[in-house]
Amino acid sequence: MTLAARVPGSFRDPSGFVFSRQGVIHRQIAPSYAPQYERLISSGLYDELVSDELLLPHEELNVRLAFSDEAYKVLRPAQLPFISHPFEWSFSQLKDAALTTLRIQRAAMKRGMTLKDASAYNVQLFDARSVLIDTLSFELYEDGSPWVAYRQFCQHFLAPLALMSRTDVRLGQLFRTYMDGVPLDLASRLLPFRTRFGLGLGLHVHAHAKAQQQYSDHSPSNKTRPSRGMSLKALQSLVTHLEQTVSGLKAPSQQTEWADYYAANNNYGEGGLDAKERVVQGLIADRPPNTVWDLGANDGRFSRLARATGARSVVAWDIDPNCVDANYRQVIAHREQGHFPLLLDLTNPSPAMGWAHRERMSLAERGPVDVVLALGLIHHLAISNNVPLSQVAAYFRTLTRRLVVEWVPKEDSQVRKLLATRPDIFPDYVQAKFEADFANQFRILQKISVEGTCRTLYLMEALPG
């Protein structure tokens, strides 16, 4: 019996769709897309993009493996260990994805093709590189045609990058509200006034937004159409100018709360941190996990430890955009495969989004994983955010099969800091209550005190059912 299901988020493009069979992702190509696919392969564009690590490779399968009758081809793309959303990316990751999209467009134009869309959701981190995952994004280039994905590129990449770079790095979260990218008129209003005078943002965001408003109630009639087409050379110049504009945007240099935690601001001496590493390694090494989520990963120190134990994919989640960006740059610089630094506010985790809440998966829908690491996290949830320990335990159980969690008592300097500016309304925040609440959701397998600190590490296993 072959269990196959269409991926709910794959319905917009009539050229094909994605389906899953026994957990393996496949792509079915519609007969109407045959000329474009043939050109992609025969022009050498596919080989070039795959060898340049810009496009996710695939293999062609027997068409009898199609999900439905109307199939021209069935592809099995290289399987991604994890799908992330653009609002979970740091500045550098979004910038790399933008430059990847433009490099692909440049290569496509040289071989008589063009990108028909430029969605940030079509780019994912794979083998420590940003790659296009949608093989059906290519269209035949028609002489004189403009780039139909220009607007989408500006909304999905240029506007959020500009806002993060020039206004505030947290504005990357606008993607959560505007799934098809940040509206250019909004970006234009939020950007500093001086950006109007730059050739890059002045044109592609501010003037572009004005042009959209100007033509908002015009259908593409003969009056609104320019009299001439757009030469290939002009199109190439446009892409070059977009590349220059994106490259010129620098990562914001805002100081954030957690950026120097392990370097200067932590609760451990070097000995305490080493002891914690040894304990964590011991707890997960007995049954090396395949998939790990490190919640509150900071610079990814413990994510790397988990990866070193043999985990195939480790997602290093953190709330601090600067931590995530620094971690991402390290992953790219050292080509750390299977390591995904991403942004997450655990008190408001990524929701299911899009049409019928089924286009983009929530955090929990992308789990459960083999192991969740929740190190130095509990006190932030329970004390800073008033989440009862019983609810923390219940939510963690939806995310993982095994849990490595650190108990941080009130005597700890970090907790004392949290309680310094507010009354202690947490009489239940004691270790016995923590153990009792977690025992309702997990079986406690091990409990080890961390040498040189007042903290305790636990290994737990989710209760069945």
Binding site: S15, R225, K233
Partner: protein, 87 residues
């Protein structure tokens, strides 16, 4: 620009964006052409200026291109000596 000729795909490309894109692309291309012309003009005039530069005075003898010169105290470098040997 006849939009009926284009394969617009499944995306709404936006009328304003399409029209604006053509204008920007023309502007940017013109910028590229202008930049190229400016570079050529600059290199032409720099050649003209060099040609008409006044002769050096006899007291300032030009450096011999054969003489190896180091950035450090004017001593010949090992590298330049070895290049000369190889030559």
């Amino acid at each position: 620009m006849d939009m009926n000729l284009f394969v617009l795909g499944y995306l709404d490309a936006g009328t304003g964006s399409l029209v604006f894109q053509v204008l920007v692309a023309s502007l940017v291309s013109a910028g590229v052409v202008f930049g190229g012309v400016m570079t050529q003009l600059r290199s032409f005039f720099s050649r003209v200026v060099l040609r008409h530069r006044p002769e050096q005075s006899a007291s300032e003898s030009p450096l011999s291109s054969d003489k190896p010169v180091s950035a450090f105290h004017g001593e010949p470098t090992l590298e330049s000596a070895s290049h000369r040997k190889a030559a």
